[in-house]
Chain length 448, copies 2
């Protein structure tokens, strides 16, 4: 019986040309992380269900992929025609696939706390899985690259993450990067001054939509949520404040607000003193991502030419590990979205030329005797670190050249009777189209 | 409620010191693959169940991890108290986790056959999952690194895989590597000459155990399987044949056997002409791994000092993609076992020194003013590609030095009032224990 060759919904194969590009992004991000002193860890694809359940809200719980217990899973379950999926799920599945890197990291930290020297700077680059409805740019398996510094409240860490973002996007050659920064405490202060701290969550959710729905609609929605007219006037003043010192003035009546402004000031003043390579740092009071999670600084990185949402984001959290029984671990982290970064780089043509050119030299195959002769030369090339190969059979030259062409080979070496009897090889330059006779050592020098 | 921090049975966290070592192995293997002209692909962690089911035998089917359908999975299932696990499984799970890289690769090739230029040299480095009983050295999640050349029957490919194995283990600095080679056709011929071709499978299974059970037990088992006394005498002659030419003589009555010897000869003669860097190539007639799968050459790589089984293995197959509806795709491949390679390298001390030393320089933190000053110097170091960091808070020096020590930092830079007012920084060499005052530019030169 023949099986149909297909991939599950929302999951992707990556072909060589895509893989070369993805690997390029991975290696740039990895180098930047390591240059900043972050160390790699990895956690397993599967976690015990209780590690993940309840950590991402009801919506998240629904989207976690569950792994069926192996063996005769039903024997230990109570299942009859009245069973519901929810009841049965717990009985037949005790493991689930990683949904993000943060919760497994928190679990890792608690489990390994005796071996970790804090502050702990770790990075983690792994796939995560979500049973989301697949759509353009949203997949059920995707890659996350996270860097976190935990075990310190120092704002030096926030400065590092801003610099790290600048480093990553500069190295990737992506222009017009904007690093937006806000602070949860500033938002707390603002809502206090607006006179409705009890509406905090509703207010930030509406505020977060400002870009899409405009100021009038924002005011309308706030009003219907119960924000007073005075409160909305205060909000407008905050939205119009153009820099951190104005903000400071607006927040002078709020203790928590003043703290937030101080933090923002420390980060932004130091960054402006140090300078960024190519990115712009910008304060944005409407930035409220992960608001039920972050407790201090909030970061979001955008590319201004491609409308695709954020390419990285993060912030400071105070209770990463409490849920696993370890209190008072403050941290700050950032997550880079590899799929979006890929799309931006494709659209803006940021990938280096010849990125999917792997084999530099191909030896054409003119028959057994010639190909055996080529093996010796091939070995010399490889010993000199030159990526090269021999076409395995002596099929028509057209087919061999087509292969070389598709693979983006730079040079095709042709060895026939003549070349075997002389000290010269015939080399065809695939870009220029010309041929020359040179010695193998001259050729190697040329390639280095 | 507090969740207990633990990993599922048979699954592992990898801490920084392990990850640095694993990443080192990955990067060496990847470089070797690419130098030989292999291109990377990746397939999703999940496949449709029908892609995997029935491809690994009954035992394999049992060990495949199944993913529960998302949402209200029971609504479409027929489940009552008489349901069996097997019946229900099909109804509530239509996806499964990758069990190896070969079947997903075959599926990939068929699905993308119009975009692939054959022969196709691909490598793939990804995790696989098996619901095996965990034991020492056997995990439920482990990494495979496969390289295959498909779409050609040329024996040049076999030569390449032998060279590639030599390249990988030489680059990893692992001594005493033995590459064992056999050929399915030689085994077919031998069993033909033994006079019992119908017992082929039983014979090779017994033969494969020779190492463990010894020759007398092998003869005994063969005899009880129905091999004649003459047959056993023939077998002994084969086992005593010390090289390929003797084999040739023994097989002169078998067409398929002669073909097998020719193939072996072509590979081994060319390899001995070309020479290997450090590995030994050895013919081993008892080598019978994957015998229901391989059709020609069989390869197995062992390290002779560590008793751990094979560190790589592979062979030629003729019908990789038939099951997905594409006939006549011959290929040859090899798979490197990263976990075993890791264990061998640990035991033989093959990892480079300082492999888990990531941060080369740490700036000690003496307070806010000093640390802000350090940020500027830190930036200069990083701009020169030097991995470095600033301790984020001004805690006791002992704690900071302990952190530097644990992280394997080479130099700690100390900047106090004096250093801020002079052009010199104080640098402590963590290995030698001494301190010196130098300028930042002298320090950068020293580090390059």
């Amino acid at each position: 019986m023949i099986t149909k060759a297909s991939t599950p919904k929302g999951m992707r194969d990556f072909s060589p040309s895509v893989m070369f590009r993805r690997n390029y992004i991975f290696s740039v991000v990895k180098s930047a992380f390591e240059k900043y002193g972050f160390s790699p860890i990895q956690t397993p694809a599967m976690e015990n269900s209780e590690t993940l359940t309840g950590k991402y809200g009801d919506e998240g719980d629904r989207l976690i992929f569950k792994v069926l217990n192996s063996g005769d899973f039903l024997s230990k379950a109570n299942c009859d025609s009245s069973s519901t999926s929810k009841e049965l799920k717990k009985q037949i599945s005790d493991k689930a696939l990683r949904y993000d890197l943060t919760v497994p990291f928190a679990r890792y930290v608690v489990q390994n706390r005796n071996d970790i020297t804090f502050p702990f700077k770790r990075y983690q680059m792994q796939n995560v899985w979500r049973a989301d409805r697949p759509q353009k740019g949203r997949f059920r398996e995707f890659f996350q690259c996270d860097a976190d510094i935990i075990g310190t409240k120092s704002l030096i860490s926030e400065i590092e993450l801003v610099q790290l973002s600048d480093e990553v996007f500069t190295s990737l050659n992506i222009p017009n990067i904007e690093i937006c920064i806000n602070n949860r405490k500033v938002l707390n202060g603002m809502v206090e001054i607006m006179g409705c701290p009890e509406l905090f969550n509703n207010i930030v959710i509406i505020l977060d939509k400002l870009d899409r729905i405009g100021i009038d609609k924002v005011k309308e929605e706030m009003s219907s949520e119960g924000v007073s007219e005075d409160g909305i006037l205060v909000l407008e003043r905050f939205l119009n404040s153009s820099d951190v010192s104005e903000l400071s003035d607006l927040l002078k009546q709020s203790e928590i607000g003043k703290k937030g402004v101080e933090e923002l000031q420390f980060v932004s003043e130091n960054i402006s003193k140090l300078g960024l390579k190519t990115a712009q740092l910008k304060f944005d009071i409407t930035l409220a991502r992960g608001i039920d999670y972050y407790t201090g600084c909030i970061l979001e990185v955008k590319q201004n030419d491609v409308k695709i949402g954020s390419v990285a984001g993060g912030g400071r959290y105070d209770n990463l590990t409490s849920v696993f029984g370890l209190d008072d671990v403050s941290g700050v982290g950032i997550s880079f979205g590899i799929d979006r970064i890929y799309m931006v780089m494709e659209e803006l043509n940021c990938f280096p030329e010849n990125i999917d050119q792997n084999t530099r030299v191909m030896f054409a195959n003119f028959g057994e005797k010639e190909s055996v002769f080529c093996l010796g030369l091939l070995k010399q090339l490889r010993e000199n670190g030159i990526s090269s190969e021999l076409y395995p059979t002596s099929v028509k030259m057209k087919k061999q050249m087509n292969y070389a062409d598709k693979k983006g080979v730079e040079f095709v070496v042709m060895i026939g009777e003549d070349e075997m009897n002389s000290e010269k090889i015939t080399v065809k330059d695939m870009k220029l189209g010309n041929q020359e006779q040179i010695s193998i050592s001259e050729f190697i020098t040329k390639l280095q």
